[in-house]
Symmetry: C2
Subunit: 277 residues, 2 copies
């Protein structure tokens, strides 16, 4: 079995570990071209076997080197693997990193939704997009990616008011889906909706408003974009007006589910309808 060459690092201030310092405090992924951090064995596996981003380096606690030997054999030869004692790792990252597995990825250029739709428009067959407007909570964005992946959505499109799906916690909650599922990010919600419509997508604006049609009564179109707004305020009026308002039937006394859950219910319905029309 090939074993990747590991480089031992003994000093927490070693400049090669700069990407890993105080990772809880800084959001590494602000702006294009920046780095992002993944953590844990399962996510590293996803990044190596399925991820669409280049890894810049790995950073492991020394005790993890042997148990991870099989996985490390899959690391490209030009990606350095830094190894340090657990206490050095804890000092670098700024808290006890029990999992002992980190990697740094290169984010690169992420297209705006309109550009993504120009470049990646599917020419035939059914297509489902999940579109997010104003979701600033990392858990919700991560959960949206996980659900989009589970129900076979082709991509996630986000306006510029959404937070970064490559934030550490968003990747974790997504079960690694944000590392491989195509996505676009930036611009206004209105631009995103109009671009989807111009590309032939019917847009369902998910909203609890009474006048919206209910999920079960609508025909699922060949090209469908499911649009979700932030929990609390929900989708702004202009986006609802620009699309087809759709409501998930709920109990009248308590009509509120988490935004990612609302997306999952809709995605599951669409997936089921396409499997057995």
């Amino acid at each position: 079995m090939a074993m990747h060459m590991a480089m031992e690092v003994d000093q927490a201030d070693d400049p090669r570990l700069q990407a890993y310092t105080s990772i809880r405090e800084k959001d590494l992924t602000s702006g294009h071209g920046a780095r992002f951090i993944i953590e844990g064995k399962v996510t590293l596996e996803t990044a190596l076997r399925r991820g669409r981003f280049k890894l810049e380096s790995l950073f492991l606690a020394a005790s993890r080197l042997e148990p991870l030997a099989d996985l490390l054999a899959e690391v490209p030869a030009d990606v350095p693997v830094y190894v340090a004692p657990q206490d050095v790792m804890d000092t670098v990252v700024g808290f006890p990193m029990h999992r002992g597995v980190l990697a740094c990825g290169i984010k690169g250029e992420i297209p705006f939704p309109a550009n993504f739709l120009d470049a990646d428009a599917k020419t035939g067959g059914p297509s489902t997009l999940l579109m997010l407007s104003g979701l600033s909570n990392h858990d919700n964005v991560g959960a949206c990616f996980r659900n989009a992946a589970a129900f076979g959505a082709d991509a996630v499109l986000m306006d510029g008011q959404c937070c970064d799906p490559l934030y550490r916690k968003a990747i974790r909650v997504s079960s690694g889906a944000s590392l491989w599922l195509p996505y676009a990010h930036g611009g206004t919600g209105a631009d995103m909706v109009h671009a989807a419509q111009a590309a032939g997508y019917e847009v369902w604006a998910m909203t609890p408003r009474a006048k919206a049609q209910t999920l079960g009564t609508l025909r699922v179109p060949e090209k469908l974009a499911i649009l979700l707004g932030a929990e609390g305020p929900g989708l702004p009026d202009d986006l609802i007006a620009a699309a087809t308002p759709v409501r998930i039937p709920m109990s009248s006394g308590f009509d509120s589910v988490n935004v990612a859950t609302a997306g999952a219910i809709t995605l599951a319905h669409v997936f089921g309808a396409r499997e057995s029309p």
Copy 2:
């Protein structure tokens, strides 16, 4: 407008505030008859207007007294309202309590699922129960309550391996639903399943296993119990064997959603089927 008599407390070690000390460290709800803590204005509203538990006291930051006057008028006269400066409150609870609103409730006796089913068996009309086995994550249990409430489930039944739905974070994630939605807690998963079946419920064991029937192909029975197991391990074999295994159709490459999300998809499907059979 009636204003509830507020009692000023200036010392963090005042014995009347004992229930509120270091609330992050202790799980107040272990064991029957214990207390639980709720936080925030919205949850307090739910507890006062809809909750099924008696409140023992309220504890507010002084700055919140006036803005909450309307709500405080609803507090029963025998429930003391303690008021302290923000810094005293922070010292008592052990961290900055920005919301400035806490209350302490009395949990009382929570029945086991089998006893609950004996006492509360619905005699007519459709009924949906959500049953949880081995869910030890507070976020997941809270989210299950929120989803059960949103889709009109009659109760949540939990085996003894589940965590307490009155844990502070579980209440918050439930949007307060665990304060009013009837629930039972304790005993084994097998006892719970058998008790539901003895009470006339068909039990759907939600599982990704290939041989399970898919959600959309099953008739929704008049009395249905939806059974969920812990994320990761899922439901144990004996519980799946004792019930009707049901699968949510998913993408073959990534067949995993959060357990509360799987419950929401099933509950939404059942709610929709009952609304328009």
